[in-house]
Symmetry: C2
Subunit: 332 residues, 2 copies
């Protein structure tokens, strides 16, 4: 199988690449497990991880907003794509044209390229719970309407519609996952309003101070990188017959308050860790976060066997096992 | 005010042009009624009605799928657009590329052109209840999720998302109306699966036979051309403050069975008219129609003062008053 990961140089892209290379196979459209013969790691920037040394890997850099670039990076005999490339929410809000170019036109270029191969490739598309907004019920369900209140959510929701239609028409075999906030992200804080949710765990674990700009009772649905990578693979491998013509899947999430996150950090890493959280309320960030869903109650994802994290302690433990060493090395 | 109607040569476009010229004014973004100084009638084909003689009217023909053409047809000092141009459902399903080009890329070109004027023009966009599909509740409500099962519905739903976001960003002042099936359409049958709903009224009223391909108990939500034109104007004039950031409005519809349509025709035009309906069930059309919403229960549209028809008798009477003479002349 020839597989492409877009946005491969991002932290989820790298982790997915590593996971797929270790796993070595994927279930294809025929329902059979097949070896991954080629893994194309596509990003706007060069992929620099050790995975690039693997003989199955091709590293391609290019511009998803450019149709020709997309045609070049997707092999004509592609079997599947994990589409992770995106401009994140705050950036798509700050630069409307960039968000549209990457998050909507980029997806349209990709869909057309996949259609042109005539092979009905599988596509695992990453959407977001940012596609919900405005007046929302206390729990987001599979049938909660998407009325996004930001450009990122609009672009993702529109892309989901296209993924379903291209699948219904038989041009591709797509599936869209609506991701909750991913916690604990390794690396450095980014410009997402949600970045604190990772920072308040990650920084104290490396002896650094972290600022928490929201009140302790703030609730967020989260998913660990470990679980989300599992969900990507599971969603890719699910048989199209289980999905029908509607290809969007709301992922489950672990709903925790920020206070519970801190309590969990104390249980796992001790009082000195939690003392490194500085509580400095920022009304702007509090307002943004207050506009997000707080509880996810999907049925479809659970029926398809997609699992979320069991507890905040597990989430932190997974970060310690998977990322802490590299995080500390990166800090050195 | 400079106003543009796209799809002006269609039957709703023509009727809207006539209505706006007679009305002479529209409420602008400042909430004040202003005279219509220029009315641009845009279509892929030349506009041929008597309205083209009005000194306020400019007739422009061009291609909505071509960005440059869209830039040319929309004056730089435009105040408002009624966007009716579209490829209808069956055609968008038969020719995927044409549907995408007109119904999605065309809207994107229009939105970008309106944004580029820097005037935040008003936009009245025609969406459809074809944006609903799949598993639906017995009544479609304002918060019923859109899971369209056809390309036309997908393209309209994606466009609605963009209209809301361009409005939220302050690039335009948009509003999207989700239209039910329009009955009675004048003219000839078209390729829409719903065309029979107009034919079984229109043809008998001119002494012709009409085929009804669905069972008498088939229920459809309909709206008369008269009411839908009223809704276009009302929706255009509504103050943005009443809409907030979510710009989609589900229109109400009169839900009638085909049997009730026939009974109404008999009351209005006599037994000889209804005898011209030939009942010839077509399982393919029955299946398509069965996938559509049967009852609409919007709250928002009603609160905004948008009204539907009181009865099927009124719908038929409106056709007789507004269209029968021209219909008979067209038949001669």
């Amino acid at each position: 199988m020839k597989i492409v990961i877009t946005g491969a140089a991002g932290f989820l892209g790298k982790r997915l690449a590593k996971t797929l290379l270790a796993k070595g196979t994927l279930v294809g459209r025929d329902g059979k497990e097949q070896p991954i013969s080629q893994l194309v790691l596509f990003d706007a920037v060069d992929y620099t991880g050790p995975e690039s040394e693997d003989p199955r890997v091709s590293v391609v850099s290019g511009d998803i907003t450019d149709k020709t670039s997309v045609e070049r990076m997707i092999p004509h005999d592609v079997d599947g794509v994990f589409h992770l490339a995106a401009v994140v929410s705050a950036a798509a809000e700050a630069d409307f044209d960039l968000g549209m170019a990457v998050n909507l036109h980029g997806v349209m270029h990709l869909l057309e390229r996949l259609r042109a191969t005539g092979r009905k490739p599988k596509l695992m598309f990453t959407s977001s719970i940012a596609t919900y907004g405005g007046a929302m019920p206390p729990e987001i369900r599979d049938d909660t309407p998407q009325t996004p209140q930001n450009s990122y959510g609009i672009q993702k929701a529109a892309s989901e519609l296209l993924v379903s239609d291209y699948s219904r028409k038989g041009f591709i075999d797509g599936r869209s996952l609506r991701l909750p906030t991913i916690v604990v992200r390794p690396g450095r804080p980014n410009k997402a309003a949600s970045t604190f949710a990772s920072s308040i765990i990650r920084e104290p674990l490396t002896g650094r101070e972290a600022v928490c700009p929201v009140s302790p009772d703030t609730v967020m649905p989260i998913m660990s990188p470990r679980r989300v990578i599992e969900a990507f693979v599971k969603a890719f491998e699910i048989d199209a017959g289980q999905l029908g013509s509607w290809r969007s899947i709301l992922l489950p999430g672990l709903s925790v308050t920020v206070e519970e996150m801190a309590a969990s950090l104390e249980r796992v890493a001790g009082r000195h860790a939690v003392d490194l959280i500085r509580w400095a309320p920022d009304p702007d960030i509090q307002k943004i976060v207050a506009g997000w869903p707080t509880r996810l109650a999907p049925q479809r994802a659970l029926k398809l066997g997609i699992e979320t994290d069991g507890s905040m302690d597990e989430v932190i433990q997974a970060f310690i096992e998977d990322d802490l060493e590299a995080q500390k090395a990166g800090m050195a």
